[in-house]
Point group: C2
Amino acid sequence: MPVRMKDIARDLGVSVVTISKVLRNHSDIGEETRQRVLNRMKELNYQPNYTARALVTGRTMCVGLVVPDLVHPFFAEVAKWLSACLREQGYGLLIASSDENPEVERDEVNQMLARRVDAIVIASAQTSVDTFREIEQRKTPYVLIDRRYSGLDASFVGTDDELIGQLATEHLMSVGCRRVAHIRGPEISTGAGRYAGYRRTLQRHGLPEQVVTEKSSDAAGDVSGFDAMQTLLSADPRPDGVFCYNDPSAMGAMRAILESGLRVPDDVAVIGCGNVLYAQFLRVPLSSIDQCSGGLGHEAGRLALSLIAAKVPVPPRTILLEPKVVPRESTLGRRLR
Amino acid sequence: MPVRMKDIARDLGVSVVTISKVLRNHSDIGEETRQRVLNRMKELNYQPNYTARALVTGRTMCVGLVVPDLVHPFFAEVAKWLSACLREQGYGLLIASSDENPEVERDEVNQMLARRVDAIVIASAQTSVDTFREIEQRKTPYVLIDRRYSGLDASFVGTDDELIGQLATEHLMSVGCRRVAHIRGPEISTGAGRYAGYRRTLQRHGLPEQVVTEKSSDAAGDVSGFDAMQTLLSADPRPDGVFCYNDPSAMGAMRAILESGLRVPDDVAVIGCGNVLYAQFLRVPLSSIDQCSGGLGHEAGRLALSLIAAKVPVPPRTILLEPKVVPRESTLGRRLR
DNA sequence: ACGCCGGACTTTATCGATAAAGTAGGCGCC
DNA sequence: GGCGCCTACTTTATCGATAAAGTCCGGCGT
């Protein structure tokens, strides 16, 4: 039903290829013909058929994004800026949520491969690297974001998680906390790295660590943060500062602290990670480590585009963004008893 | 580079069409051949080329979603459930953010049409219906969500905004507010409907209205909510309850109230709309009108799929979800001076 | 014994574009 | 004046699948 090149070609008495060349600004066309074609295109509101084009060029002009949870503001932010970056170059963005489920994620990656996306950007919930090997076999470029895998030499855009752990811990100590606890995230690079940074920093200062691991995963971070904090509150000695794996879990932790009748930050200071958009509006505005979620999306987009543009496979690149402490009330201005 | 039907056909000494038929469970194939083909497909990890298939069937198995802002938790939630619903039927989801900009949105819709998505789901920022007419010309089914257009007979999934305005206003009155103000959203159906419901309800009770309109649009709702609330606070008489167009603006409004030294809900009660995921974690947990964002995404998906499945154009359908008051601290338990 | 039917495939045409190779005419140059 | 080259096209092949029509063969009914 939509207008095809063939229709324009017939109307103008030229060949289809001429139309195609005009569309792609081929040098091979006379000025008069070019104008006639362009006019007719405008009149008929012609739009090229991307699926046909994709079939012959092998380019779909689409990039796939797989995230654990679109509702998590961190990933939403990444998606938004990634999309913006791709759009500038005429690329579309196909999005899927894995719900932190490796099986679902694998399915979704396969769907994207079947759709022949030109590249995949993924914040993965995989526990092994098999899925990435499959992507490599297909020769589809991919970019890991936020979470990386040891033993996988892949392009990555994210933050230095150990540094995050260090910054958060040091910040808590700088506001006077002496018993700094950690609510630890899942067994992936982010969880492990942030924990390692926390641990190393405490060791350097000769302080003991106190760690609870979240039960569930990211999608319901606030619930597991709540549970984890309750465990910490019943510990002896009770911590006076908590570094939470991410902002949702920090939100849950704060709720647990407040509901138990304690004060934030006076009794327990709290810092999260991700610096989610609404952190400043929380019951107690939440201190956090900013991960540049927007910039991350943008950089991932640029990297993906450069991988697509490379005619020969290029060596993987790693881009690390600088994490920054964003102090707010949940750690500042403590009055101690 | 990936495996094609042709490869399998050659290996097995049958024709390409036989492979194609096995893949689509055509009845026309003998059991033994079927098994041989299936085995070989598995061995080679064959995946059909969706772009080639799309070219001949005219179906891309993709749906497009256009929202004003992916980071807005309401739309993120919609996107997540829409995606889940489509995935069940093997459909992919192409997402774009318009940033509340009608021009950008139009561009994005055109991109999606060029990509030949099978349907478009859109929370539109258009001021006219021209763009929808274009979609109709292309014979691409579309579903409006959240925001509708008078004079446009299109499928719609959303909420009764007048009812929302009524419920919110009545709720504020039920907790004792006598000077109920409204921070009004943009000039689109949601803003207009919620305002109309508010207005009608006040009139019925013989109370005066007090309205400020947000300057900027949804993407930065919290900032404009803050500004609007400052205007209201300097009014005489000062309102003792505010119904905010949506949750982000309510968050901004609360910040304005608290920063001016007043209390929520004691001095000013606040209710928002959307019941965004983190509403309960806010400085004062925010009362809101739930719009079933998840259900909305799901229903929009079902509706889109049914439109795609219809061989002949079907009359547009409207699905309204029931809004519900979710009372929290920002309105409950007021102690008046 | 013959025709017909239906199961199991194969052949041919097509979807809407692009890539690569081919061609016709005009013009300059020796 | 003929050769070659450039410009502005056109022709042909192809991308990876599906749709529709065609073919071959064995069995069955009468």
